[in-house]
Homo-oligomer: 445 residues x 2
C-alpha cells in the first residue's frame, strides 16, 4: 500500500486516495503514452485503448492515463508522478532510433543509472540487417542502449526492444509505439509479468460472441447471473457495442489452460442457450465468414443485389479471403428500373414484391445457388414522425424465394448499416435452417 | 511563469520545467479526459485527438494529457496536478445526469466553493423537454448545478452545459463528453477564450486541400517556403495522411475575417499551382463529391464495374446525398467470366483489354454517359518479390474508351484502397479534361 506514503500531492489539502482502485486486486497501474504525434492529436491514441482493454480482459485495471510529448522535462516529470501514484507503469513509445526518441535516456535518468550497451540486442539487430543485405544504420545502435540493470523485453518483430526498470520503487515497462510490436510485447512480455506481480494466476483467455438483434442493455438482462455457471468463478462478463453488432466477452483467468476450458465450457453453453439464434459468430469469425463457410459447406454460390446499402454487403463479403470462389456477382443500384433491367425482370419497385422478383431473377441470371436482394425505402422523418427505413429482403435459393420485411428507426447511415447486416443475417439463418422472422430489438412498427 | 513556484514535485529531485512549452506563446494547456469508458479503453479517445488538433490549428499547443475514471479521488488529484502544471485546462466528460457524472461536484470541491442552481439553464432544459411533450427527468436538474461564480459555457445542442472556473490560479473549462456537443462548445466557447487569454488575435480559419498521388514527404518538399506567400505571416502548414489521400492544411489566424482572406488567397493560389492536378478536392469536398458534381454539370450518368475493390467505389459514391440520380448501376465480381457475362461481352480477363471491353459494354448496357471498370491482379509476393497489384482502369465515355495501367506496391487492403481511389481519380481527371497518365508516387515498375 503506497497510498499516503509519499506525503501530500502538489496543491493544497491532503489526497487520501490517489488512484481509482482496481477490483479484485490491489495493483495500481498507469499507462503513460509518449510522443508528439499523440500529444498533438495528429495520431488517435488507439494504443492506449488497446492496452487498457487487454489489461481489463486479464483481470487488471488501469487507474490513470498520461500523455506527454517527446520532451525531456515532461518525460521526467511524468515518470516521477507515475511512480508516486502507481505500482506498475507501462510506457509506450520513444524507443526508436531518432533523436526525438528519448525513453531509454529519461528512464535511466529517472532511475539514477547510466545507459549501457545491451550486446545481445545489438547482435540481433545486426543479424536482422545482414539477412536483408543492408548495413545497419548507425542510429540504430541507440536502440540497444538500455538503463543499467534493466530487464530485457523481447521484440521478435522489430528493432525497438522493450525493457523494465524500477523508478522510485515502481516497476516501469517500456514498450514500442508501433502498434503490432506493442501488442505482441504486451501479450508475451508485459502481461505475464503484471499478472505475476499482482499475484494472479497467469493463464488468461478471452471468449467472444458476436450477436445481431439484441441491444446491450437487454443482453445484460438476458445474461444476468451467468458468472455463476463458471466453477470456482474467475470469469468476467463484458459487452462492447459496434452497431449493428454487439460483442459479448468472457475474460477468464486460471492456473493452467485446462482450468480455463473447465470454467468456460458451462458458461459458453448457457450463453448459446440464452442468446440463441441471435449469435451470428464467435471469436475471430464474422457474420460474413460464417455465411461464406455455410455456403461452401453446401457447395453453394451467391449473387447479391443492393439498393440503399450502396455495396456494403458485397464489400464485406469480398474482404474475406477466398470469397471470390463463391461470390458470383454483386449489383448496386438506387434506381428501381435499372435494378430490374440489370437482372432481366420487369418489376421495378422498392417493395417486398420488388425484392422477391429481383432475388428470383438474379438467381436465375447468375446461376448462383443463393441470391439476396436488399431494398430500402427511407422515411424522411417529417415533424412528429420518427426517421427510419422500410427494409425488404428477398432471398432465393433452390427451395424457393422468401421475403423478410422490417422497419428500422434511425438516420440514413444507421439504416444502411442495419439493412446490410439484416440481409447477411437472413442469409445466415436460411443457410443454417433457423427462422428468419425473429424480431430484432431495433425493429419498430 | 508558474514553473517551480509550487515547490518540488512528488519524488526526489527538483523538476525545472514541468511541461513542454508551446511555440509562439507562453500558455501551457492540458487536456483532462474523464470517464471509465475512456480509462478502460472501451471507447477510443477521439475527443482528445480532436481537441488537441483544433487547438494546434488555432496556434495553441497542448502540453499534457491526462485520463482518469469516474472516481472522486482521481478527479480531485488530477485537477490539482493540472492546476500546478498548466495555465489552462480543458476537462472533457462527467457533465451528464447520472450519479457517476462528477465533474461539477469535484470542480466545486477543488475550487473551494459550493454548487448553486443555474436558473437560466434549468429553464432551458425544461423548455427543451416541454417542446417534446415530455416531463424533464428529475436527474437532469443536476446538470444545472454549477460551482458558485462559474462562467457559463453554452451548449445549444444538448442538456450538458459547460462552465469555467478557476482552481488554484488556473482556468478550467469543463466540456461535455458527447463528441458533437464537445466540438461545438470547443469552437464557439472555449477556443475564443483561450485565444484571448493567450493574447492571440482571435479569428481563425482552416483551409484544406485533399490530394492523391503525392506522399507526405514529397508534398513537404514541394511546398517548401510556402508560408512566405502569406502577407504578414501567421499561417501554419500541416499534413495529415489518410491513405491513399493526403490532407494539406493551412491554419490561419488574424484580427478580422478579411485579414484571413488576404493572407490565404496568395498561399492558396501557390499551393494549387505546385500540387496541380493532384489536388482532388478542397475543404469539405471529397473525391467522390467532386466526381458527382462534374458529372451533374455535364448532365452525365455513371455505371461502375469493380473486381478486386469489392464494391468500395460504388459504396463511396452512393454515400453522397443525391448520388442515386446519377449512379445507374454498379457491378461487383471477382470472376472474369461472370463479369463479362453480366455486361454482355465475351472478353473475360483481368487485363487492360478486359478493362477496356467491360467499360465499353457496360456503358452501352446501362445507358450511362460514363462507365468505369477497375480490374486488379495481385502479385502474391513470393520470396524477393515485392507484393502488390497490377491495376487496369477502363473508362468509356461518349468520346471513346481509354485504359490507364499502374502497379501499386502493398498488401491486399493497400492495393484495394489504392485501386478504388485511382479509378475515381481517373474519372475525375477525364471529366475535368486533365491528363489521366500523370505518375503517382505510389506507382512502381
Amino acid at each position: 500500500m503506497k497510498i499516503g506514503s509519499d506525503g501530500p500531492e502538489m496543491g493544497s489539502g491532503p489526497i487520501h486516495v490517489a488512484m481509482h482502485r482496481a477490483k479484485g486486486n490491489d495493483m495500481r497501474i498507469e499507462i503513460l503514452c509518449t510522443g508528439d504525434e499523440i500529444l498533438t492529436g495528429k495520431t488517435i491514441n488507439t494504443n492506449y485503448s488497446h492496452m487498457a482493454q487487454r489489461l481489463g480482459e486479464a483481470g487488471l485495471e488501469v487507474g490513470w492515463g498520461t500523455t506527454v510529448g517527446d520532451d525531456r522535462a515532461s518525460l521526467l516529470t511524468s515518470f516521477r508522478q507515475a511512480a508516486a501514484r502507481a505500482d506498475a507503469v507501462i510506457v509506450n513509445g520513444g524507443l526508436g532510433p531518432t533523436v526525438d526518441d528519448l525513453s531509454q535516456e529519461m528512464a535511466a535518468e529517472a532511475a539514477g543509472v547510466t545507459l549501457v550497451l545491451h550486446e545481445p540486442w545489438l547482435a540481433r539487430m545486426e543479424a536482422f540487417y545482414a539477412r536483408r543485405n543492408r548495413p545497419m544504420p548507425v542510429n540504430n545502435r541507440k536502440q540497444a542502449m538500455l538503463p543499467e540493470n534493466a530487464e530485457f523485453l523481447d521484440n521478435p518483430i522489430g528493432t525497438a526492444c522493450g525493457f523494465a526498470v524500477t523508478i522510485e520503487g515502481t516497476r516501469f515497462y517500456f514498450t514500442p509505439g508501433v502498434p503490432r510490436e506493442m501488442r505482441r510485447m504486451l501479450d508475451e512480455q508485459v502481461l505475464p509479468r503484471l499478472l505475476a506481480k499482482a499475484g494472479l494466476q497467469s493463464v488468461t483467455r478471452l471468449k467472444r460472441f458476436h450477436s445481431f438483434g439484441i441491444g446491450e442493455s437487454r443482453a445484460d438482462e438476458m445474461l444476468a447471473g451467468i458468472e455463476a455457471f463458471a466453477p470456482g468463478g474467475g470469469v468476467k462478463l463484458g459487452f462492447q457495442a459496434h452497431y449493428p453488432e454487439l460483442e459479448t466477452k468472457l475474460a477468464v483467468r486460471g492456473a493452467v489452460p485446462s482450468e480455463l476450458d473447465r470454467k468456460l465450457a458451462p458458461m459458453e453453453t448457457e450463453i448459446r442457450r440464452r442468446l440463441g439464434n441471435f449469435i451470428i459468430a464467435e471469436d475471430d469469425q464474422s457474420l460474413e465468414s460464417v455465411v461464406l463457410d455455410a455456403l461452401r459447406a453446401r457447395d453453394g454460390s451467391l449473387a447479391v443485389a443492393e439498393t440503399f446499402t450502396g455495396g456494403i454487403i458485397a464489400s464485406r463479403l469480398l474482404q474475406v479471403e477466398g470469397a471470390e470462389d463463391l461470390f458470383r456477382r454483386g449489383l448496386v443500384s438506387r434506381n428501381p428500373d435499372q435494378l430490374a433491367a440489370a437482372v432481366g425482370t420487369t418489376v421495378g419497385s422498392f417493395s417486398p414484391e420488388g425484392a422477391r422478383a429481383v432475388a428470383s431473377a438474379l438467381q436465375v441470371q447468375s446461376g448462383a445457388t443463393h441470391a439476396l436482394a436488399v431494398v430500402v425505402t427511407m422515411d424522411t422523418g417529417a415533424a412528429g414522425i420518427e426517421a427510419g427505413g422500410a427494409i425488404s429482403i428477398g432471398l432465393a435459393d433452390l427451395e424457393g424465394t422468401i421475403v423478410r420485411e422490417a422497419w428500422l428507426a434511425g438516420g440514413r447511415e444507421w439504416v444502411r448499416l442495419g439493412a446490410a447486416e439484416m440481409g447477411l443475417d437472413c442469409l445466415r439463418r436460411r443457410l443454417l435452417g433457423l427462422p428468419t422472422d425473429e424480431r430484432l430489438d431495433f425493429e419498430r412498427r
